[in-house]
Amino acid sequence: MSMQPTFLITDLLFFALTIGLIAFVFMVRKRPHLSRPWSQVLKSTTGSVSLMILLFYYAIALIDSMHFHPRVAQATESQYQYSSEVHSLLDVLMAPMRSRMEKTFSAPLATHSFSKEMMQGEEGQLQRDYPRLNYGGAHLTQPEEQKAADIISVSLQASAQALFYWALIWLFILWLYSQRNNQSLVTLLANVLRAKTTYPLRAIAMTSAILMLLTVVSMQLGQHYHLFGTDKVGQDVFYQAVKSVRTGILIGVLTTLITLPLAILLGALAGFFRGWVDDVIQYIYTTLNSIPHVLLIAAAVLLLQVYMSGHADDFDSLTERADLRLLFLCLILGITSWTGLCRLLRAETFKLREMEYIQAAEAFGVSKFKILMRHVMPNFMHIVIISVVLDFSGLVLAEAVLSYINIGVDPSMNSWGNMINQARLEMARDPIVWWSLSAAFVFMFTLVLFANLFADVVRDALDPRVVRGEQ
């Protein structure tokens, strides 16, 4: 064993959620009334393209959640020593980008540092100039002349590789597909090219081509260059941005996972039993909702900081501490966001309660608990799903704002919010250091945009009352 697997709390929750999601997919596939709206989502081009991109992000987060302690030295024959540092599988895949630190800022794909330094010239005299980077383009002897050609040739080679594998994979998928549908591969190919398939296979194939190209090219270029430059302490910005994916995704999904049971239970109870139960639940969520969310989060995070500074010895490592803070942030974000869903579910239960099938069940003397489980909850689950998907993008955005006012994730954790927070201090520099901001922007915008587009498609498919322009 060259490593020792370790599980952070958020890892475990994330894995549990993933398993739950897979189970959900299998459950839905078996029930036609549940799978119909989802197949409508997949049939829409926007829906399946967005889903693919979201899954791509999700996969990065998943790989980045497989943590371990790397082995440092062999103490005895059978006993290894493990570092207290925690690495993830993603760190292994992106090893060169993680470890190759420059001294300070450097522009994207640069070979020289961003700021001048005193150094010895060829003839031994002191002069101020831009020094070569330790790693970025270090293999080039004449960077000025060779760089462009090198970048192009590396990119082209990587692209060719990517497209080759992409074509192989897709031919295989289409072959399988044609076997299952008793179609000849040629007709299927023709249909895909003309976008005449039930599911938008052409768009899916093109999205996967783009994702594959981006991944392979950036990984190859990343071996020799800093794709998005480096930050103040010389760390690769591209690596930071990719590492931030896990933080964003976790904030988006764990928050809802933690608070969903609360919202569902209280919403259903309030709507179903009314009377004093309803009064109490309404009181709880109106009170919580009255406190401005940012302030409640700020207060809670401040108190957490007080607690952590007082109990610094309780944490094994910085990573663990940051992880706990992330979990706590999800929790407190959840507490501020469950009220909306709870109110929606309460209103829906109110309506459902008047449905005749529930009265029919009452006429059979079916117990209240069974009525809730069998007749009420399955009939408002679509609202839960819509709200989870809709809230996701808002939570990703919230993380950035909170980190910016220092009440977000731990400053040592990679997150887009922290990237922006650190980069904005350099806004005043001339020429401006724009790459950290741009990297955070591109990564965050892509995730949030496709999450929003996906949410729209899901809402249209799951909620029959939705208003559409073309109606």
Binding site: A363, F364, N379
Partner: protein
């Protein structure tokens, strides 16, 4: 020259993949002062035809062929701007739901005057004066006050009168009335129909009357056009149509309407089957009624004041008493809001009653404890009105049918329950493979059959049928009514049949109780009530029912 000539009209709704023809190649004309009734069941394309004429189709639909000529001008050829001048002044429309069809945040006066001023250049004051006159003409009790009121302050019938006033505001040549009385109670329906006829002759308008109700058609129409699945299947004068309908669909439509005569016929056919049963049932009747309700009162509090204490009560059910004998059908008849549904729910203990007793098989249901009540629920079931909300869309039909049996422990083993479900589906005329299907795969009539099967699953002695057919088309209604009658003959249970429809009452009830404002004003054997009503309300109600 005819006022309106529709020639070869086809209208389609564009779908994702292909277009769906909802009106196909229909032709008819309407003369001045004449009423043409466009009759058909839901989905027959009659409303689409009306909207095509006014060019008010929803964006997804469009006229794909044909011409529509109004006083010689082809409406399909003129610009939208010209068409707007036509709407209101040449063609006016009345819709089905008067509440939704009026703007809730504008006063009645605003909404009428708006139409007046659109088509005549008059001052605000003159328009207001005209609006008041129009309100008087359509019979609003206090036009001077009503004009400054909002739609929600008026009753349903009044709102429909306001709609008519709006339609008349610019003295149109053609009035299109799309199911104008369907949402109204029968007594109000009679008034509104009278009003429409009066105004039509007064203004010499052509009236295109769209409805599903053949009885209404017989009273109002000069000529009749029957639509079926987008096509015009029959077209003729009122007399000719009712004397001898030519098309098979028209005949089926007429035959589907329940009447007392048809019941007699049916009874004769089934005599042999019934003889044995009647004797048996009479024996039971001697023992006493299966259900007797005494002085039942259900009051809903009206809450007010700062602390929401009950300041007054709505007497939804006020001192109701009746008996129902085993194997018989008692119809509880009344207009909307008379409390008939509340009675049904109070009997089933789905609602708490304030006073009175419900004796079911000699047990007072209100005094039973939970366990005893659960046992009694086996014998007491309900079938609801809305075929769409009465079945849980997330449950398989098999599970829906099984739920009651499991909850009330009717059959112990899953094997037995499965067999029973198969039998039930057979009894209500549904295929056995329905078990593994979801409610949305069934039509309205089929869903009502499932509801009936669900109630039958626990072998009840009494079923409360709460308007089980009023959401169904007339041909489907006939099937469901016949099914209910057959099941009663076969299984011998009693029905408390809650309805507003006199035709249905005459078709299947043994006894009738007429409800009005929470009280039963008259009850007795069906023939007696229908032929010799004693109470003034019953007389009024019966007089308002359009008959064939």
């Amino acid at each position: 020259m005819s006022l309106l000539v529709v020639n070869g009209l086809s209208t389609e709704i564009r779908g994702r993949a292909e277009s769906n023809l909802v009106v196909s190649d229909i032709s008819f004309q309407v003369e001045r002062g004449e009423t043409l009734a466009l009759v058909g069941e839901s989905g027959s394309g009659k409303s689409m035809t009306a909207l095509s004429i006014a060019r008010l189709l929803p964006p997804a639909a469009r006229v794909s062929a044909g011409e529509i000529k109004l006083s010689g001008r082809d409406l399909m050829q003129i610009s939208e701007r010209e068409m707007r001048d036509f709407r209101g002044s040449k063609i006016a429309m009345i819709f089905q739901e008067p509440m939704n069809s009026l703007n809730p945040v504008l006063t009645i006066g605003d909404q009428i005057a708006e139409c007046v001023r659109r088509h005549q250049s008059v001052t605000r004051l003159v328009a207001r004066q005209q609006s008041i006159e129009l309100l008087a003409a359509v019979g609003l009790p206090a036009p001077q006050r009503n004009i400054d009121e909002y739609p929600h302050q008026l009753s349903g019938g009044m709102r429909q009168r306001v709609m008519i006033a709006i339609a008349l505001a610019a003295q149109p040549d053609l009035l299109i009335a799309d199911e104008p009385t369907t949402a109204l109670d029968v007594t109000i329906q009679a008034q509104v129909l009278d009003l429409l006829k009066d105004l039509q002759s007064q203004f010499n308008m052509g009236l295109l009357f769209i409805t599903h109700d053949l009885a209404v058609v017989k009273q109002t129409a000069d000529r009749i056009a029957v639509m079926h699945q987008g096509e015009l299947v029959e077209h003729g004068t009122n007399e000719a149509f009712f004397a001898s309908p030519k098309h098979a669909y028209s005949r089926a439509l007429l035959e589907a309407i329940p009447t007392a005569q048809k019941r007699l016929q049916r009874d004769l056919e089934q005599d042999a089957k019934r003889v044995t049963e009647v004797t048996q049932l009479e024996g039971e009747a001697a023992v006493g009624p299966i259900l007797s309700v005494r002085n039942l009162q259900v009051h809903f509090p009206i809450r007010g004041g700062v602390f929401r204490r009950a300041v007054d009560y709505v007497r939804a059910v006020d001192d109701v008493s009746f008996d129902l004998h085993a194997g018989k059908t008692l119809a509880l008849v009344g207009e909307s809001g008379c409390g008939k549904t509340t009675v049904g729910k109070a009997i089933l203990q789905l609602l708490k009653s304030n006073q009175g007793s419900v004796l079911f098989q000699q047990h007072d249901l209100q005094s039973l404890n939970n366990e005893a009540l659960r046992k009694t629920r086996r014998d007491l079931q309900i079938v609801f009105q809305d075929p769409y909300s009465s079945l849980n869309p997330r449950m398989l039909v098999g599970d829906i049918l099984e739920e009651g049996m499991t909850a009330l422990a009717v059959l112990k083993t899953a094997q037995d329950r499965k067999r029973k479900i198969k039998l039930l589906l057979d009894q209500v005329g549904l295929p056995a493979d329905s078990v593994l299907r979801y409610p949305h795969e069934f039509s309205g009539g089929q869903r009502q059959r499932i509801s009936i099967a669900r109630a039958l699953a626990v072998e009840p002695k009494l079923i409360v049928c709460d308007e089980p057919t009023s959401a169904l088309d007339v041909s489907v209604q006939a099937q469901v009514l016949n099914l209910l009658i057959d099941l009663q003959a076969e299984l011998g249970m009693s029905y408390l049949f809650i309805t507003h429809d006199m035709a249905v009452v005459s078709y299947l009830a043994d006894e009738v109780a007429v409800m009005h404002q929470g009280q039963i004003v008259e009850q007795g054997p069906t023939d007696q009530i229908l032929l010799q009503p004693q109470h003034s309300y019953t007389q009024k109600l019966l007089a308002a029912v359009p008959s064939l």
